[in-house]
Amino acid sequence: MFERPENTTIERSSVELTKQDFVSDQMVKWCPGCGAHAILSSVANVFPKIGYKKENFVMVSGIGCSSRFPYYVNTYGIHGIHGRAAAISSGVKIANPHLSVWVATGDGDSLAIGGNHFIHVIRRNIDLNIILFNNQIYGLTKGQYSPTTPMGMVTKTSPQGTIEHPFNIGELVMGAQGTFFARAVDTNPKLMTEIMFEAAKHDGTSLIEILQNCIIFADGAHQQVTAKDIKDDFQLVLKNGEPMIFGKNKDKGIRFFSNRLEVVQLGENGITENDLLIHDKYQQDPGVHLMLAKMAPPMFPVALGVIRSAMYPTYDDMVEEQIAYAKENNPVKTVDDLLNSGDTWVI
């Protein structure tokens, strides 16, 4: 089912781990019915499968409902300050690349107050796994609009509807030269676990967007994608190397036509599987990945699964390479060498 990750920097567990190894003794204080519970469960499921020593996981967060996460999973962890999880986790990973570093964050935390850190961590491609809980609302402060709230939505701070254009997270990730972008809905634990595993395997910054439901302040925000009766028609679960087919009857597909994506009906107008786009998550050029990430109802299904997973050197690897090179080639090996370098004289 799961292949082992290739990363050799992080020490593996000598014993088989289970979900129980990662369950915290703290009471989980999210609202009953919150989508975050399913995300937590997926993380606890995937960590033992990833197979690293349990002490090698570090969970970092900022502020918000999502950011209570480190208290609810038994790993090393830092509950940081608002918006700064990307920066804190960058320090963790650069300082100790032998750790598997995870970030739990939200749309307000990462895209508003932490927007600057968000784009820069992605640009640098530091080997972090960022799970972004996108519930399109500020939950912990009780219902103000966020940078992903759809335009026009009535919230506590937009009584006449928001007048802001929301971010598409995938678009932001590609714009910042992201190397890994995946998306899942909180109602599909299996897919969440799969993409988290893929994220762990990916060397570089992995951004996982979870379309999460806030049952109190934005209930049903993702209804157009997740409602039982329509979900098959509005979810395209991407599989690498396979044609993009979706729909209740597996009879719809995505093709590239006239310089853009288009939904087509298989069997109509002579369209067959051969006309459909084949998903290539490894492609370096983010053009198609961007178009896929931007697909949205009602014209399109939402793309789920791993949309992009391109190979680029990571910041943390290059730090280690530069240090190794300097240690090899620079005559200054100790503090005494340093203090006595350059012009000195004896009195």
Partner: protein, 626 residues
């Protein structure tokens, strides 16, 4: 020391008299592109190798290349050399080397009455004179009568020297700063060979450039030897210094090296998360050079990311540093609170500049002290230490790292622009002679490990590093229950934790040196200072004592907590004056802690250091008051 030229000595070559001087202050000023920083540095090196003690300070505009020949574009470098112990970069200069009218215009106020002005007469053309803001030619209007002028056609003579080597005028002119340096070497009787060696190393692959620079330097020297305006030579005899190996060190470099030394002595890898800001950037640049010592430098996207990355690195077990200046410290405030709350060790360096806001980026001030002490939400104590000179900055950086690591608390190191950019001689220590640093790292599977269990003596918690078996735990900004580290909103627990965090910092008193007094432990006046003002205050106190006044000096390197014996030190004096380059911040703190004493204050907020004369005048006035 004033150089007085005796007009009667108009002597033939080789027979000019030589006069001994205690110390000399030289200031080089010219256009931003004139190479003043380089000649200043070369002169300092020569003086150091010749056995003088010294201190230097560059003085450059915030603009990289301001318009040519304007006052805004003047770049300077001041050097104070001496036979005596050099504690400051000098208040006013004895020799002013000026490369154009604008630099004369902007710096004449720093020349002593009777100072020697070395001028490039070729640059005093009507356009440049007007651009500098003069209404008439200062070389002709008698406005410089109280100075001794060495009028040298530096540009044309440099061209001549180039011509002999077949070098075109434009190329030759780039070396005119060396002509000026040559004049100065003759005037102060300094050898040329060290500078020759510099040319040979620097331009190894360009023999023509070596030849040109040597020729121009020699031409300047010979010009001075021949010209009648220079009637005598001066010598600054060797300083008597402690035996040992020396080097010149710039304050920002010293800070970087202090941290590298602390990393080696503690066995903790060094991590710097920082964002460029004047005047602290050189620490970032210096540390970036030392990957061979395992230093990891993360140039973050902003000040906040700088400190937050350092917090992440501290959690993993690094000696974590962030460096900044006042505006950046403001941005880091919230994150310093996180470091206090998580009780993680790190050092925040603030190289202070003129504020508020962008203020005076390239000028120095001591106005962030209250921000360092109190500029955060909640009850948020950190250890604060302050450096007093470029060489001292090495030891204070080391000490800041030691205190942070051993007491598991963020520590702030206050430096200042004048310390960061300034340089002085540094007796090179052996790493093995520096104190050991022993952070309280928790052992794998330590029984009963709890994140906030504390050493009863120091109240320090243990440092459990990710990757270590049996120690998984969470830290964060929410208040935690003492010992267990579980999130807690219990009122009494919060009170307890607030008290514990404060007491932990206060207990550092038991690990820092007692406050020293320069001079007698009792007397009429105690002068209190902290930071860069040490040298100026000490010179002023020396003058007072030489005049028989009962004045002593207490200079504080430890600000939070203060040394235990601080009130005892104060009690020995009839009067106390606190001198600061701010409107009175340390005195505010002292009045709060020790209200039993009566304090006077002397403050200056001009982006400039104290000069000795103003201090002695104030001290005398205080002593005379009833």
């Amino acid at each position: 020391m004033r150089i007085i030229f005796n007009k009667h000595y108009i002597m033939a070559k080789k027979s000019k008299p030589i006069v001994d001087l205690e110390d000399v202050v030289v200031k080089f000023v010219g256009d931003s592109g004139d190479g003043m920083q380089l000649v200043g540095t070369l002169f300092s090196e020569t003086a150091a190798l010749d056995g003088n003690d010294l201190a230097t300070f560059p003085d450059f505009p915030a603009e990289i290349r301001a318009p040519h020949n304007t006052v805004a574009g003047v770049s300077g470098f001041q050097v104070h050399i001496g036979k005596k112990k050099i504690l400051t970069t000098g208040d006013y200069c004895d020799v002013l080397v000026t490369m154009n009218p604008a630099s004369l215009k902007s710096n004449l106020k720093w020349a002593k009455h009777g100072a020697t002005l070395i001028l490039d007469t070729d640059t005093f053309d009507p356009a440049a004179i007007e651009k500098a803001g003069y209404s008439s030619n200062p070389l002709e209007d008698r406005s410089l009568e109280k100075y001794h002028l060495v009028k040298a056609p530096i540009t044309s003579l440099t061209r001549e020297a180039g011509k002999d080597l077949g070098v075109d005028n434009k190329t030759a002119e780039r070396s005119k700063n060396m002509f000026a340096l040559g004049i100065l070497y003759y005037l102060l009787n300094k050898p040329l060979d060290n500078t020759f060696r510099f040319f040979e190393t620097k331009f190894k692959k360009k023999p023509d450039v070596i030849k040109l620079n040597k020729a121009v330097l020699q031409a300047g020297y010979n010009f001075a030897d021949t010209v009648e305006a220079i009637s005598s030579q001066y010598t600054i005899p060797k300083a008597t210094m402690e035996k040992g190996k020396y080097r010149n060190i710039v304050g920002n470099t010293a800070v970087a090296w202090g941290f590298i030394a602390a990393s080696e002595r503690s066995g903790r890898p060094l991590f710097l998360g920082s964002y460029p800001i004047t005047p602290a950037t050189e620490i970032l640049m210096e540390l970036a050079k030392h990957k061979s010592l395992g230093v990891k430098v993360f140039q973050a996207e902003d000040e906040i990311a700088g400190i937050c990355s350092a917090i992440g690195a501290a959690y993993t077990g690094s000696l974590a540093i962030t460096t900044t200046s006042g505006p950046g410290l403001s941005l880091k405030s919230e994150a310093i609170g996180l470091a206090v709350m998580t009780e993680l060790p790190m050092v925040i360096v603030d190289v202070q500049r003129g504020g508020p806001s962008t203020g005076l980026p390239t000028k120095s001030e001591q106005s962030d002290l209250l921000q360092a002490l109190f500029g955060r939400n909640g009850e948020c104590p950190v250890i604060i230490v302050a450096a007093s000179s470029p060489a001292n900055a090495f030891y204070m950086a080391f000490e800041a790292a030691k205190l942070a690591l051993e007491h598991m608390t963020p520590t702030m190191l206050l430096s200042e622009g004048v310390i960061g950019f300034g340089s002085e001689l540094f007796k090179i220590p052996k790493a093995a002679d520096l104190p050991a640093i022993q952070p309280p790292i928790a052992k794998p599977n330590e029984p009963d490990y709890k994140p906030f269990r504390r050493d009863p003596e120091t109240l320090v918690r243990k440092w459990a590093l990710p990757g270590t078996e049996g120690l998984r735990h969470r830290v964060g900004g929410l208040e935690k229950e003492n010992i267990t580290g579980i999130v807690s909103t219990d009122p009494l627990n919060h009170q307890l934790m607030v008290n514990l965090r404060a007491e932990k910092v206060q207990k550092v008193q038991n690990f820092i040196p007692r406050q020293e007094i320069y001079g007698d432990p009792e007397g009429d006046l105690l002068v209190i200072g902290w930071g860069s003002t040490k040298g100026a205050i000490q010179y002023a106190v020396d003058e007072m004592r030489a005049a028989g006044k009962k004045v002593s000096h207490a200079h504080f390197h430890y600000i939070m907590p203060l040394p235990k014996n601080t009130p005892e030190v104060f009690a020995g004096f009839k009067k106390i004056i606190v001198c600061e380059l701010n409107s009175g911040q340390f005195i505010y703190y002292l009045r709060m802690l020790f209200p039993q004493f009566k304090y006077s204050q002397y403050n200056k907020v001009q982006g400039l250091p104290f000069v000795v004369n103003e201090l002695t005048a104030v001290f005398n006035q205080i002593l005379e008051e009833e």
